[in-house]
Amino acid sequence: MPAFLARMPAAARDYSACSGCSLCLLVCPMWRSRHDPGFSPEGLAKALQCGATAAALAPPLDACSLCGACDAVCPERIDLSGMIMDLRRRLANSPLPDVPRPALPDDLHSRLQQGAPATAPVAPRSAPVLLPGPALRADAALLAQVQALLGIAVFDDDGDDIALAIEVGVVIPPLRLQSFLDSLRGHSIVAADGLLLRQLRRWLAGSQRMGLGAALSTRAAVRSNLGAGDLYVIEPRAFHADYERMVGFYDRLQRETGCSFNLDLQRIAIPAVAPGMAQNPGFAAGDEVQAKWILQGRSPARIVVESLADRAVFGRVCDLPVVHVAELGVDPQMMKEFRHAFG
């Protein structure tokens, strides 16, 4: 196709482009739980068009889980989660006395100031590295399985302070960010944190990046253990951060394995947990509405999750076996158990 026929890919647009189609409401977990347009990306954009300040929008800003579903459906290509993160930054940096703010971990600022301890590089440049994030780090056995499956080294500085800062709107000191990005440059990256992955896509344009779940599900050992009885729960942030590519990727996975997904009719990933910011820093239990909605009308034999938070919530709402996608690839016992079950 000659270049002059192709329209330039439009740059991401801001709130002012919102024309009020409400498509983002359909995929927004915030809206789903409240049915109040004020709690939706569209509501925020419209409020900004009417001159609202960040402080006036604090409740929806805190309630958003940054799942990124809205970005994928917006026909005007507005960077909606970018808009929300930006508003959170404004809110965090100009606190008003009468707007209650969620408490942040005490050490976040000091961690951001200090940065990670300088250590010898774990892997030669261009080798793939894993940014596991705190939850996976805490589960040593699973982390080992992930590493074995992917044949990958854990990167010492996995930027969990940066990921948290992005989420809660704390400004990242440029030095800290620079050293983090410099150390990553040249590596291909597998990141468990979808939000960090999304930002890395901007910060390290041209680098190879993948979400942990997608990386694991490329492994033959994993794929061969997925079957029609599996409900595979995609981690939404990583999925929506690279939506066009990921929707095709998982579609092929579905054709190959027959598993089903937590996708809605628009092929948007339904988050199993959608905690707002207030709960997030401590990863407290969110409500279970989302997970129940994923399961409604479905009867899978097993649930496969990409994210550890999802494993916890499905463990609570159903008594089906719930496994992490990494566990599919390596546990011979489980393989034996399920192979006959899935034919």
Binding site: D14, S16, A17, Q49, C50, G51
Partner: protein, 403 residues
Amino acid sequence: MRSVDVVIVGASLAAAAAAKRLVDAGLETIVIERKELPRHKICSGILSPRGHRFLLENFGPLPSETVHQPTSCRGVTFHFPSMVSMPMDFFGGSTPHLHRKYSDHWAIQRSGAEVHDRTSFAGLEDKGDHVVVQASRNGEPVEYRARQVIGADGPSSPVVRAVYPGYAKQIPWFFVGQKFHDIIDCPLSADYFHFWFHPGLGHYTWSHARDGRQIVGVGFKRGDNFARKHEVVQRYLEEKHGVRLQPAADDHEGCAENFGPSLINRYVFGKGNVLATGQAAGFLNMIGEGMSCALHSGAISGEAVVEARRRNRPVQEVYRRMIASEVRRCTDQWNPLKIAFDKPHEADFPAALMQLGWRDRAKVLRDMWRFIVLFKEFNWGRQIVSGALQRPVIGGYSMQRWL
């Protein structure tokens, strides 16, 4: 200092239309008007059907005090020195004969805006994110702070002069005056607005009935003598058309008019947060009807303010992009190619022309040409031709020529 979203200068139809759009969108709007309302307004009052529809759709059916007698006008009759007359009915039927004193007051009240009358505009200062408007009420200075200011204050607009001090000197000015006569005998149909394409009478010569009297109006380049011009026309009407009138009553009136801008696409839309609209921007339909384009351009100025805020864009940029459709409609009426091959007016001139015999048709065209030659001194010819040629190429008129 009162702080509002928008200040509109002038309480005319353009102001009412702008105010309606702003108030609907929830913006706090103040209209300031020099005179006490309801105020007198010099105008023939013959609104075009498009303007009538706008009034109806946006302000509701007209109350009876907003129209003069006869309450309506069926169309326009052109008269030529060769004594050919061409009556043409408006598309869509008769059109109101507005009593501007009451119609404007009614519209501005229906708009829902807050009106400060007896408040004359004295100057403004655009501070980038807001404008400070200075005015005086009963001799006392008052100030307003507004995000935007809309100048809907007529042809010799003080707002435009505040923004572009040199503008008034750049365009030719006309004086248009009308005198009111009691009728002894008038064969001119009271259902029509009569217009003379006669270079000997003046640049703009008209007559129609109002409230039992006959208006005799003349327009000419500023500097000439109203009384003498009027006398010539009155004598002409008596000799050629048998119109016998009493001497004019002493309530004659006149005002300055700017014909040029819409003719040669030289509108002035303001600067920064200050918008000019209606006749202040230069909108005037052919045959001097300015009300319908004032209503529409006024509405667009209001829409542009609303849109610019919601879209976080500079208001001038939004206004100029939105006003292009009204510019097309208005300037098309003066565009010779459009007149020849399209129907830019609200009455069908080509059809009326074709109804004449070929001899009369030739006379009409000759007389029109002689009339046009009267305007030669303004050197508009080349600008009109270039405008007419660019119209089909770029689908409109160049925005580069606007101030």
